[in-house]
Symmetry: C2
Subunit: 69 residues, 2 copies
């Protein structure tokens, strides 16, 4: 299995959004966000991009493994 996505959760909290609120902004369901945060899902690129745009982050910020310096 994969790892928890702590960066995503932190970025969401920074924006003061619940999983449900983020999900609605992104256009997916709460379960999808929850499972991605738990690392139990392998999301599609379009969902990743939608999440990044909502949280003002890039793919590398939230989904790339090696942190940029």
């Amino acid at each position: 299995m994969q790892m928890k996505n702590v960066r995503l959760k932190m970025a969401r909290i920074e924006h003061d959004l619940s999983q449900d609120e983020l999900a609605k902004k992104v256009g997916v369901t709460r379960q999808t966000i929850g499972l991605i945060e738990l690392g139990k899902y392998n999301p599609t690129l379009s969902v990743c991009i939608a999440i990044c745009k909502t949280l003002n982050k890039t793919l590398d910020d939230l989904f790339w493994e090696e942190q940029s310096e």
Copy 2:
């Protein structure tokens, strides 16, 4: 529909790989690579990451829309 992924194709050519060769290194089929390059697919994050690692690029390099200045 989406747009062609020219950056992916260029990165692949830089490494002197055919779609089939890249696919084998990444662990997917030729069709998957071809469709992603044509912009007719919405790949999963794991496939994106596998492609990036094979081509020594990051997600932002190949799959993020806004080019980093």
